[in-house]
Symmetry: C2
Subunit: 351 residues, 2 copies
């Protein structure tokens, strides 16, 4: 057996900027006006690492976190207990009850059945009102004192379906949510996600729930000047070779050299979340020069053009252009999918 204590450095990593994450939260908190900003940290902190994200945002002053399920609540509990409120957006199933009733986290009750399930727990909860997205949440017509009697509702929230667009659905949802609140006794109100914050003070209520923009995502132009990138991909050059004119590269020869030039083979691939959509379209960077991805992205490997980085050697590292808007345009994937899809093999290097 080998010595398990010997470190094996990863061949690719996510370089994470904790200061940028904190600056983004402060920017979104300021944009939220008199409302306080919370933070959506579901899906393992949008793939970046929930515990690191929560640690940074707690220190910045964030006091409300949103996760998808009870496993995610448990994952951050050691950090949040006694310091912040944690809401479980996907609600409470019968199978969750044994854990949920003794957890410091709260369920967001989404259904009439969940309300009945939680009513006698004697513990706080949140409530999701369906204002027109028709995903999770209780229909406005079902709300009323009979249904909600006995509940200790902290946040009565709803969720915007199209906050990244300027159509009428936003104001429709706003009106329906406001009307519904008249029938819902609660401590706090909350409607806006990241893009919703940019819709203005009518949408802010007591608490906002930014997600993607905390992590550098920009879905509305209003956010572009205020949000910084948080995650940068970097990969090691495992091999450098010289292609000659006519040489085929990678799976299905999706790149054929038209001249002699060097290529670098990087230790990252679609199994790390850098999907095939980046084939012949992704960009790596070195000293301001662009190093295009050549051919098809492999499972564990990517080929890039080193013509503009002839001094690079095997074992050197290069940056990936992972600005989420640029990478989304390159790959055809949404900013959300790009960030939450980053694989477990990538070392998360927080600075």
């Amino acid at each position: 057996m080998s010595d398990q204590t010997i470190p094996i450095p990863a061949t690719a990593q996510i370089k994470l900027d904790g200061a940028a994450l904190v600056a983004n939260w402060h920017a979104l908190d300021r944009m939220s006006g008199t409302a306080k900003a919370g933070a959506a940290v579901k899906a393992n902190g949008y793939g970046l690492g929930a515990r690191e994200v929560v640690g940074h945002l707690l220190a910045a002053g964030c006091e409300d976190f949103f996760v998808a399920n009870w496993q995610e609540a448990r994952e951050i509990e050691g950090l949040t207990v006694g310091k912040a409120s944690v809401s479980v957006l996907n609600g409470v199933r019968e199978a969750d009850m044994r854990f949920a009733v003794q957890s410091p986290a709260k369920p967001v009750l989404n259904t009439i059945e969940q309300v009945a399930r939680w009513r006698n727990s004697g513990r706080k909860c949140d409530l999701m009102i369906n204002s027109g997205m028709n995903r999770l949440g209780i229909n406005v017509g079902d709300l009323g004192s009979d249904l909600l009697a006995g509940l200790k509702i902290d946040i009565a929230m709803s969720h915007l379906a199209s906050a990244d667009e300027d159509g009428p659905q936003n104001s429709d949802q706003l009106a329906r949510y406001k009307a519904a609140l008249a029938n819902v006794p609660c401590s706090r109100t909350s409607l806006a996600n990241s893009a919703g914050i940019a819709l203005g003070s009518d949408y802010h209520f007591d608490l906002t729930r930014p997600g993607l923009s905390l992590y550098g995502g920009i879905q509305r132009q209003e956010l572009a000047e205020r949000i910084q990138p948080v995650a940068m991909l970097q990969a090691e050059i495992l091999q450098i070779r010289m292609l000659e004119s006519g040489d085929r590269l990678g799976y299905n020869a999706q790149y054929i050299a038209q001249r002699s030039h060097p290529v670098g083979i990087l230790g990252m691939g679609y199994a790390d979340g850098y999907l095939r959509g980046f084939s012949n379209r992704g960009i790596f960077l070195y000293k301001g020069m662009k190093l295009p991805v050549l051919g098809r992205v492999s499972m564990d490997l990517i080929a890039i053009d080193l013509s503009q980085a002839a001094d690079r050697r095997e074992g050197d590292w290069v940056d990936c252009d992972f600005d989420l808007r640029a990478a989304s345009a390159q790959s055809g994937l949404s900013q959300y999918e790009l960030i939450t899809g980053l694989g477990q093999r990538l070392f998360r290097n927080w600075a």
Copy 2:
């Protein structure tokens, strides 16, 4: 603090069929003729769980495993040590050497620098010959007794770039590989991946290296009747609601009901690897009926049409049509990306 020992069942899972995995390996081993089949288990066993995969295949008689890096070799070492050979395809970097020289796994030497690095270790290695894919591997012109002196080469391998197609690149690579072997002292030879096995006995050599097809992937028609699905996705219905005609569903209202019908909201989303390409295109299944995905897939949630499954209740589970060829056609993602992209939040339920 909550009780950490209380189980919290996942809201979605991968149901894994170990018998099908083993049957696929036996089928590929038989198709390999006089060659023996190994198994590519890189990227955490193509996302399904390397340790479970290796456990099943060891019991079936597989004796050669292929991983991408030394972390992956270490992950399975407790299972493979003394029982099977493990090859590290991405080679050996300087940063790997301290671990590598005391690991029972072998590096696949890809570069002249790696050969120099390993030469004095006194330990076995494999060798990757670049027969025309121009990804990893030593160029044929660089091979020779000077370069290889002192190496203890087990497998001298190459890799096919286009084995899933019938173009001339396969025979070109075959000819170049065969010619190169004349200059390479080795114990065993290996060229074919899953699709390469279907190219016939000329491509089999001593050892084949199936990957995707072990896990149910089919890239060539010859494999379709011999390969069984291994991974099925299943998700729990968190909420059922009735849509009325005109109701908008999910992000950006990408589905608008044209009639009254029930929908189910499932506890799975693109953060689990079921990407937005399945929006309005994916299919779930219940008792032989198709339950189409409606609207845009969310990070943690998917909406499906329950018109054909009116007896389903909150807390019930539904299967996903995750036949890799069908799911690839639905989503626009390759079979490879679909399987390796399955997220860590999904419970891996081996049967």
